[in-house]
Structures are given as C-alpha cells and as structure tokens.
Symmetry: C2
Subunit: 160 residues, 2 copies
C-alpha cells in the first residue's frame, strides 16, 4: 500500500520552499493538506511545538493564521486542478498566493492538542479561489478563517 500524497508533495522544487508548507523548508511548519474526494473537503492535522505559544497553555494566533493561510492556498491548488479536470502535479503547475486572509479567533486554542483544519471551497472564479478553513482542537472549533487566493503572478516565478 502506498501512502496518500499531500497536496504540497506535488509542488515543484521551487514552490516547496514555503515556511508554512514547503516540504523542503527544514525550519518551517511543513503543513500537509489532504483532499477528501468524498466530502469535497481538504484536511490537515498539525501538532504545534511548545514554543508556538501565545500565553502559557495556548497556541499563538499568528501560527493559526499561518496554518489557515497555507491550508487555504493548498486547497485552492487542488480545487483548481480538479476544476480544470487535471491531475495534481501536472504541468503547467497551478499554484496560488494569498490576496487576503481573515481569521476569527473563537476560543483560546490549547497548545497540547493536535489541531485539525477542515477547508471547503466557497468559490472558484477566474484566477481566484475562496476557501473557508475551520480549526478544531479535539472537537472544539477554535478558529475560523477565509482565504482569498489568486493564481501566482508570473512576476513571482523564476525561470519561467
């Protein structure tokens, strides 16, 4: 049995340096997002390290924002491939950057629990994908965000 690949595992080398989700960034968070075909959601699990705190016992809001951001752009990439009827990882590569990010922090998020992120695509239109991301600790909804992602501008890509 082969393990299911995360969306980020399909990114090219150049696109895999990201602090939040790049598989090649050894100082980064290495978030992994998995598309759930059946439920049309995208799932990521993440266990925060102890130093990602805000106040003793709780996760830093900036970290939560970072996870929502990368999970949102990853979900956007998967949704865009699907929308074009193409397989993840095929060329030309579809990658997204964040145009805007909104996060509502609903409850203090405990630092000692694995977090679960569940994303749903709200809209795909032209170069834009809007995603809603919910962050749970155990079964409790702690934060909720929206990521407006756009296809990466050519000016941000080297060697193309």
């Amino acid at each position: 049995m082969t393990e299911k690949k995360a969306i980020q595992d399909f990114y090219s080398e150049q696109m895999s340096q990201c602090y939040g989700c790049g598989r090649l960034n050894d100082s980064g968070l290495k978030l992994k997002s998995f598309w759930n075909e059946e439920e049309e959601t995208c799932i990521a699990n993440f266990k925060p390290k102890s130093y990602y705190i805000s106040f003793p016992g709780f996760v830093n809001g900036g970290l939560i924002a970072s996870l929502i951001d990368c999970h949102g752009t990853g979900t956007a990439a998967a949704a865009a491939y699907k929308d074009e009827g193409r397989k993840m990882g095929t060329n030309p590569e579809l990658r997204f950057v964040t145009a805007s990010l909104h996060v509502d922090f609903l409850k203090p998020t405990p630092i000692d629990q694995e977090l679960k992120l569940i994303a749903k695509v709200k809209e795909i239109k032209g170069r834009k994908v809007i995603t809603e991301v919910k962050v749970f600790a155990v079964e409790v909804l702690c934060a909720q965000g929206e990521v407006i992602a756009v296809k990466i501008p050519e000016t941000m890509i080297f060697n193309r």
Copy 2:
C-alpha cells in the same frame, strides 16, 4: 542615555512567552513595538530570516500575518494604558488577545529587506481596541491589516 523600551519589554514574565513577540521566547520572532507619542502611531522594524519565505525571494504571508497580529495587540495595550491615563507596566496589567485578524496582501514582499510596521488605533471602546497596521518594505506598502483586540479573558491567565 537609556535606550527606549519596547511595549513588549513592559509585559510581565507570564505574558512574555509569545512566539510572535515574547522577549522570553528564544525560538520566537521577538517583535518589538515602539509607541510614537508625537505621531500617535506605533512602529516596529523586523528583518525576516531567510527561511521565512513563501516563494524564492519573497516573505511568507503567515509571517506577515503574525507580525501584524502581535504588533496590533501590542499597540492595543499601549493605547489602553494611555486611555486610562496610566504608565505602561503598571498593575493591573493590561494585555490583549486577538478576536479577529484581517490582512490584505497588496504586493509580494521582498525577503531581503527590513520590514517596517506602522500601526494606528482606529477605535477604543470598552474591552476592545481596533488597530490598522501597514507593512512597508523600503517605502513600498506591501500589506495592510486590521486587528480587533480584546482584553485578555481571566480564564486565559494563570495565578490571578
């Protein structure tokens, strides 16, 4: 001549663990925010490390969101002390958490420049402080955010 203290340097030990701005978190970003009395703004400078990238050459959006978040809550603390006519660092300690965070990413942010954050208080009302934060690289406005901060709930504080 004594060096001017940052807002975060007034936080108590318990409140100084934050990944984004805690002076005692050696794995963190240690953002330092300085109140500018004359202009009624709050200023922070931050040089991103090379691994805080998104795509080669550019800063990760999650890092920018983290900086805006901590700079916003720091500004809220300074503004609240001022609003109560009290000096920073006096007890009871005034500290804020983020209720919501919004970031518009206006331009790709270069990784090799020092970033400058400029915050202005838009509203203080009851337990809430709303702050607008602009992020510049050199003279270019790269991102702009809004932080709705609220006084930290008693349930998040140990030993009180």
